[in-house]
Subunit: 372 residues, 2 copies
C-alpha cells in the first residue's frame, strides 16, 4: 500500500471522519482509522459500531493498492502537524505504516485490517433529500434540546418525522421541546426515525452553507447520511417518541412580541443571580412579569437582586411566571430573527417561543413554580 497526497486534502478527510470527542473504548480497533486504496480512490473510514464515517478522496497519487488500520488520533495528529506539503504514506514489509514528508519520517504500528468493520451496505427503504444548509440549520436549532438522561434513551435522540413533503425535526428532554420544519424531496408519504442527538453533531460538522442536497436513507435500524464525498451511518433509537403535535398548546391567553437581543441580554444579566456562589447546589429561577407595554425580568438570591425592564407589544392578560433561565437562553441563542413571539397560557402552563419572521421554529418550555 502506498500513496502520495497533499497534506490539506488528507487533513480535510481526517477532520470529516474523526470524532471531536472520541469516547475511549477498551477495544483499540474501534478507535482505528481504516485506509483503503482501491479503484483509484483513497477511502478513510472510522467505525465504533455506534456511528461510522467514510470519506473518499479521488485525486490521490496511488502507487500500490492495499489497506491498513492505525490509531486514528495518532495518525490525525501527525498529519495535522506536518508542513503543508506532499505526504507519502506506505505500508512496509513488517506491517508498519510509514509517513514521510520532507525531513520527517514517522512509523505507526498497524492493527489487523480484517478485524475492522467497514460501513455496512444499508438496504434503504425510505429516503429524503434536503439542502445541506437547511439540514445544518435544523440540527443547530433542535439537537441542543435532547435529553442526556440515559434512563429514557429514546429522548436522547432527535425525531425525524416526514409527513407529505415536510420534515419535522423534534427534540425533547422533559422540560422543553424544540421543533423545526422544512420542505424535503421524498417519495414516501409518511415515516418516522429517531437519530441519536450526539451523532447529529458529526453530521452537522460535515454540512456546508450550500444548496447542494444531502441524501438521508433510512433502513429498519440505521440511518445513512450522504454528503458529497462523505457517508455517515448511525444506528436508530427504537421506541415511541412523544406525540409532539398534541403537546404544544394551540391556545394562548397572553402573547408578547419582543426584540430578541434585548430579551436575551436581560435574561443573561438577571441570571447572574440565578446561580448562587455561596450555595453551590441552589439555583434560583428568574421571574417574568408581563405588563401592558413592558415585561420585568427579575431574579432574587441571597447575594442581591436583579430587575430588568424590556419594552414589548402585548396582547391578552397580565401574567407572572417563573423559568429556569438556561432553557430560555438556549432557545433565544438558536433563533436568528430580530423579534420573537412568546405565547403563554397560565403561570403553570408552558411558554411557546416562535420566530416572527417565519413559522418554521417552535420552542416550548415548562415554567418553574414560584415561591410566594
Amino acid at each position: 500500500m502506498k500513496f502520495i497526497c497533499e497534506k490539506e486534502k488528507l487533513l480535510l478527510g481526517l477532520n470529516s471522519v474523526t470524532r471531536s470527542s472520541i469516547g475511549r473504548t477498551t477495544t483499540p480497533i474501534l478507535e482505528g482509522i481504516h485506509l483503503q486504496l482501491k479503484n483509484k480512490k483513497l477511502t478513510l473510514t472510522t467505525n465504533d459500531l455506534e456511528v461510522g464515517m467514510e470519506y473518499r478522496i479521488e485525486d490521490v497519487d496511488i502507487r500500490d493498492e492495499g489497506e491498513a488500520v492505525v490509531d486514528s488520533r495518532m495518525f490525525s495528529e501527525i498529519i495535522r502537524k506536518l508542513p503543508n506539503k506532499e505526504i507519502i504514506v506506505s505500508l512496509n514489509e513488517n506491517n508498519i505504516l510509514l509517513i514521510e514528508c520532507e525531513g520527517s519520517k514517522y512509523k505507526l504500528s498497524t492493527m489487523n485490517a480484517n478485524e475492522f468493520t467497514l460501513l455496512p451496505n444499508i438496504s434503504v427503504d425510505k429516503s429524503i433529500s434536503i439542502p445541506q444548509k437547511v439540514l445544518k440549520d435544523m440540527i443547530k436549532r433542535t439537537a441542543f434540546a435532547v435529553s442526556t438522561d440515559e434512563n429514557r434513551p429514546i429522548f436522547t435522540g432527535c425525531l425525524f418525522d416526514v409527513t407529505g413533503s415536510l420534515l419535522n425535526i423534534v427534540a425533547v428532554d422533559g422540560f422543553r421541546l424544540a421543533q423545526r420544519v422544512a420542505p424535503v424531496f421524498t417519495e414516501q408519504k409518511e415515516f418516522k426515525a429517531i437519530v441519536p442527538g450526539k451523532y447529529l453533531s458529526e453530521v452537522a460538522k460535515n454540512l456546508l452553507d450550500v444548496d447542494e442536497l444531502v441524501k438521508i436513507g433510512i433502513s429498519k435500524n440505521q440511518a445513512l447520511f450522504e454528503i458529497n464525498d462523505c457517508k455517515i451511518v448511525t444506528r436508530l433509537l427504537e421506541g415511541d417518541f412523544l406525540d409532539y403535535g398534541n403537546v404544544i398548546p394551540k391556545e394562548k391567553e397572553t402573547r408578547i412580541k419582543i426584540d430578541k437581543s434585548n430579551l436575551q441580554d436581560a435574561i443573561e444579566r438577571a441570571a447572574i443571580f440565578s446561580i448562587s456562589s455561596s450555595e453551590k447546589e441552589k439555583k434560583y429561577p428568574i421571574k417574568i412579569y408581563i405588563n401592558v407595554d413592558c415585561i420585568v425580568v427579575s431574579c432574587t438570591s441571597q447575594a442581591g437582586d436583579a430587575k430588568e425592564e424590556v419594552a414589548v407589544e402585548m396582547e391578552g392578560k397580565e401574567l407572572e411566571i417563573g423559568f429556569n433561565p438556561k432553557y430560555l437562553l438556549d432557545a433565544l441563542k438558536a433563533i436568528e430573527d430580530d423579534e420573537v413571539y412568546l405565547d403563554f397560557g397560565s403561570n403553570i402552563s408552558p411558554c411557546v417561543i416562535r420566530s416572527t419572521a417565519e413559522d418554521k421554529y417552535t420552542y416550548m418550555v415548562l415554567p418553574v413554580r414560584l415561591k410566594e
Copy 2:
C-alpha cells in the same frame, strides 16, 4: 455614596484589579472589592492579603463620597454584561449597593467596609524603574519556569536580582532555569527580592507594550508595582535563592545554530509519541542526535516512532542526548528570534539555549538519561 461612570471606564478598572483565577476562600471579605469615592477619585481595591491591587479612576461624576465592599465576582459580572452606557452606582440607607443602567436595576448586599484591608503604605527602601514593555517581556520569558512544588516555596518565585544598573529575573524549578536581563534605572547598587511567580501574571496583565516606566519598590517583605493608575502589592518570599550565576555552564563541547521554528515544529511533532495514549502514566523522552550539518530529533514509544531531520550549523563534537520535550518547547515558545544557539557539554550535562540576536536571554535545561 453615589457615582456615575461610563461602563467601559469602570470595566477597565475592574479587569485590572480582579484576579483571573480567584482562589475561593472561606472568608468572603477577601473576595470583596472595595469601592471608595474620595478626593474626586473612584478607587477600586481587591486584597486577599497575598496580593493586593488598587486602580484609580479620575474622571468620575461623584455625587456623594463614601465607600462600600461587595463581592468582586458578582459586581464585575454585572458591569461586564451591562450595555455600553453610563452606569449609576449608589449605596442606599439599608447598605445595599444599587447599580442602575437604562432599564436594568441591580441590588447587591454589601460587606462591612471596616473589615476590608486596604493596600498598606509600604516603606520602600529600594526601588527600580523599567519600561513597561521590557518588564512584560521579561516576565513572559521567565515566569513560566517557576516551580509549582509548595514543598520548596522559594522556587515558586522569580528572583529579581539588581546588580549595577542591570536587572536579572530568574526562575528555576529543578529541571530548568530561565534568565532574562535588562538595564534599569536605580539608585541602589545591589539587591535581591523574590516575587511569587503566580502574582507576576497579575502584574503582566497590567503592562502595555509601551516605553512608559513601571516603578518597583521593595520593602523588607513586600514588593510594590506602580503602573499608571494601578498599584499592585505582593508579599515577598524569604530564603536563599539558587546561586544561578554558578549553575549555568560557561564551557561548551558542542554548539549548534538552528532555525527556531524548524526546531520547534520538529520537537512538537516528535512529541506526539512522547505521551502514550495506551500507557497513561508513561512519558517517553525525545532523543536529539547532533551531527555535522543536521540534527535528528526522534521519539520511540509502543505506538511507533518519529524521526525528524533539521539542518544546523554545528561546532564541536557529535552528541546524543535525551530531553523531556515540554521543557524545550516552553523555552522555544518564549523566544522570538529567528535563530537560536544550543550549547551542550556531555549527554549528562545541561543544555543552554540562547537567542542569537541578543545576549539577554538564557534558558538551561537538564537532560534525561536515555536507556540503551
